[in-house]
């Protein structure tokens, strides 16, 4: 078993994993310092006959120092996170050339509508596939999440992407895979009886492979 984060397969994975390890280091140091101090104080200052505790009410200077250090640390982490958040979920973060798709969640399946060969949604060559997400590698994809009944959550662990699909809302989420292969979509928001098996398969193709698949399916859709 991999004891840290599993391998990532999208552009977001790099950013999120890096931030995760930064926070792990910062909190790890804080953890070790405080817990070691705690245990050390408990041993060092255990009750011993004839030794009286020091009557001591505190030290303002020490408090000012650790308050400002903590505040500075969390603010820096906050600002670092703000940039990443804006690049991943910000309103204007979706690249202009992203392939538009619609991911419609319902109990308990994912219906994915592709734009067809023209890469435009709302045209005749659009087609819909259940529980199968096909995307090309190294190309941004912009998914519009909708939901039919309850709230679902579109979660692809390998891509480090998660976004709730809320009935009555159209929510944009984009991603750019960096590795070809097979991955899984999971539902991360309790959505009812079949929540635990509301999964989908992700296939990341090479660009040529995707184009072939896309044209094929688009023509099938036109033929109907």
């Amino acid at each position: 078993m991999n004891w840290l984060l599993p391998p990532g397969a999208s552009t977001f994975a790099t950013e999120i994993d890096w931030l995760y390890y930064v926070i792990l280091w910062v909190t790890g140091i804080a953890f070790v310092v405080t817990e070691v101090a705690l245990v050390w104080f408990l041993i060092r200052y255990r009750a011993r006959p004839g030794v009286r505790a020091t009557h001591y009410h505190g030290n303002v200077k020490a408090e000012v120092i650790w308050t400002s250090v903590t505040a500075a640390a969390v603010l820096v982490l906050g600002l670092m996170s703000a940039g990443g958040w804006d690049r991943i979920k910000g309103r204007n973060s979706v690249p202009g050339d992203a392939i538009p798709i619609i991911v419609h969640a319902k109990q308990f399946e994912w219906q994915i509508t592709y734009p067809g060969p023209d890469l435009q949604l709302g045209t005749a060559d659009d087609f819909t596939v259940r529980n199968q997400l096909h995307v090309p590698v190294d190309r941004a994809v912009n998914a519009t999440l909708t939901a039919e009944d309850a709230i679902h959550s579109f979660f692809v662990p390998a891509w480090r992407i998660k976004q709730d699909a809320v009935p009555g809302m159209r929510i944009q989420v984009w991603f750019q895979p960096t590795q070809t292969g097979q991955f899984e979509i999971a539902c991360a928001e309790l959505c009812g009886l079949g929540h635990y098996r509301m999964k989908g398969a992700v296939t990341v193709h090479s660009q040529e492979e995707f184009d072939r698949w896309n044209v094929n399916r688009g023509q099938l859709a036109l033929g109907q």
Binding site: L38, G58, G78, F183, A188
Partner: protein
């Protein structure tokens, strides 16, 4: 020195006339207006719910550790839950929902606020009783039907509420989506009633703390436990009605066809989440602030040393309470909320880490240069601090919005919340119960078995919840009936089984506590008035204290943490002990 008969001093307290004459058993122990009896009633009720919530957790852990296998003893469950002892997914959803609901609303919250708020506030501030004893009694007897209703949900048609303890709409409001109708309605009504009970309790606490402090007990001489309970009561008072209002709308959506949260006619599912978490985040602090207060009291006592930075401890409590109203959106980063709003919530969430960190450093500072006595309450209190450090630090991961994208709704969250709620609140509750048990029942708990319970709980607890961080990092979602459905989670089965076995040990260890609790009540060693050499006013009266608490309203001369003071021979100095006047300048700290 003023001498005021307690029976008349609190003319506003309706107990006045009840002091002298004998009361029937019913008035004395069942429909009692005595805050101590009410506190003990809440204690028994919430410990029963703690056990029930624990049983539900064991069933959950059985399913995750041994998916699809017949649960030992599960055969007694009806076929709608677990045919032949094999847990059904619909029952599983009800289990996670009710485990959360029981623990948050019926176990931890009443244990902290209902039990110790009631028991400690009048005793520690030097009042004969609450400001409104009859409303206090009503607050308990309103909570009872709420609890019964919440349990009844398991036996109604369609099973119990299964939309999570957060009851996100529209799943919670449409029976056709969740398969549950009556259970969800009972859930709603029960929580509305419980909310009323909490509000009645908290406005009583607030009034009592403001108006009935003994002479000399000015604000900066209040024990930190009372500060914490006071601020918590304010949070309950202002947050609970938001939940009640939201649940009323949810109930109307289910029953009379309104459209608040269903999108069909313009309702907003996100509105439910905003209202729920606008209540829910103050609720998180409701569940931890009193625990922090108890830990402060007990750590100062165990270290025989004044609390380090009393004033900053108070300001940290106030800062948490104020900032706590501006961070609720961090539960909703993945909900489709306005991303700009997400950024502001992230920054406010990061900032609220600061007062929590101040508290941790001050606890460490309290132990530093102390003379530590390792009595059971101290062990639990120290465990509280060390587990709260983990829970607090793991919170930073999810406060960071990009990292939260990945770990949101995974077991990382489950690990974090249990480190705060179990490692934090529950260890502090064990500390408080073992600390004030002698005062409540007049007998000591058996120290050996109390320590055995502590050690087993502490070890098993970490074996249960620490590996959950790892589950979460591998992407293991919350609230899933069977992770083996997913290929990327199949390699985690071994870890899940390990966690489950540890959980069974953890559960079994609680029976040591239960037996010790019950047995000590009858056969425990008689407790002295002040077994822990504490300075608080409650330790100056007999164990258990008589009706009306104090023979005369005490006069307070100093803060509650004057341990190892150079002014006296002993290493403690009760708040109400009058010392001969000191030469000017020598008694700087009071």
């Amino acid at each position: 020195m003023p001498t005021i008969k307690s029976s008349v001093a609190g003319h506003a307290s309706a107990t006045g006339e009840a002091h002298t004459h004998e009361m029937s058993f019913l008035r004395k122990y069942i429909f009692s207006t005595d805050h101590k009896i009410i506190g003990i009633q809440f204690l028994i009720m919430s410990l029963v719910f703690l056990l029930a919530g624990g049983v539900l957790a064991m069933v959950i852990r059985w399913q995750l550790g041994f998916p699809g296998q017949a649960m030992p003893g599960g055969g007694v469950l009806p076929d709608t839950m677990a045919p032949d002892g094999i847990v059904l997914p619909e029952f599983y959803n009800a289990l996670v929902t009710m485990h959360g609901t029981f623990m948050v609303f019926f176990a931890i919250m009443p244990l902290l606020v209902g039990v110790f708020g009631n028991y400690l506030i009048p005793l520690k501030i030097g009042a004969p009783d609450m400001a409104f004893p009859r409303i206090n009694m009503a607050s308990f007897w309103i909570a009872v039907p709420a609890g019964i209703m919440m349990i009844a949900g398991f036996v109604v048609e369609g099973g119990h509420a299964a939309a999570g303890w957060t009851s996100y709409a529209p799943l919670s409001e449409r029976a056709d989506l969740s398969g549950v109708s009556m259970g969800q309605i009972l859930w709603c009504i029960s929580l509305i009633i419980l909310g009323l009970s909490s509000i009645l309790g908290s406005f009583n606490y607030i009034t009592t703390v403001i108006n009935l402090r003994a002479p000399g007990m000015h604000w900066f001489r209040l024990p930190l436990s009372i500060w914490a309970l006071f601020v918590t009561a304010i949070l309950v008072l202002l947050a609970m009605p938001i939940l009640s209002g939201a649940i009323i709308m949810l109930l109307f959506d289910q029953t009379i066809g309104t459209h608040f949260f269903g999108p069909a006619q313009g309702g907003q599912p996100l509105l439910w989440q905003h209202l729920f978490w606008f209540f829910g985040h103050p609720e998180v602090y409701i569940l931890i602030l009193p625990a922090m207060g108890f830990a402060s009291d007990i750590i100062a006592n165990g270290s025989r040393k004044p609390v380090f930075g009393y004033a900053s401890m108070v300001f940290a409590i106030l800062a948490i309470a104020v900032l706590g109203w501006g961070v609720w959106g961090h539960h909703m980063f993945m909900s489709g909320m306005n991303p700009t709003l997400g950024t502001s919530f992230m920054i406010s969430t990061m900032l609220i880490a600061v007062p929590s960190a101040i508290k941790v450093f001050n606890w460490l500072g309290t132990i530093w240069l102390g003379s530590v006595r390792f009595h059971t309450p101290m062990l639990h209190a120290v465990a509280f601090v060390s587990m709260f450090i983990i829970g607090g630090l793991s919170g930073i991961f999810m406060a960071s919005t990009p990292v939260d994208i990945y770990i949101h709704d995974t077991y990382f969250i489950v690990a974090h919340l249990h480190y705060v709620l179990f490692g934090g609140s529950l260890f502090a509750i064990f500390a408080a119960i073992t600390y004030w048990y002698p005062k409540m029942f007049g007998r000591m708990m058996n120290p050996f078995w109390a320590k055995a319970h502590f050690v087993l709980t502490f070890v098993a607890y970490n074996f249960v919840f620490f590996p959950m961080h790892q589950l979460g990092l591998q992407g293991h979602m919350r609230r899933i009936f069977d992770p083996n459905e997913y290929e990327f989670l199949q390699h985690l089965q071994g870890l899940n089984t390990f966690i489950s076995i540890s959980a069974f040990v953890l559960f079994a260890a609680q029976f040591i506590f239960a037996i010790n609790f019950i047995a000590s009540w009858f056969v425990g060693e008689k407790a002295p008035d002040n077994p822990w050499d504490d300075n608080g006013l409650e330790w100056t009266v007999p164990s258990p204290p008589p009706h009306g608490n104090f023979a005369t309203i005490p006069r307070v001369y100093r803060g509650p943490y004057e341990y190892s003071s150079p002014l006296v021979q002993e290493d403690f100095l009760p708040q109400n002990r009058e010392l001969p006047p000191q030469p000017a300048g020598s008694a700087a700290h009071t």
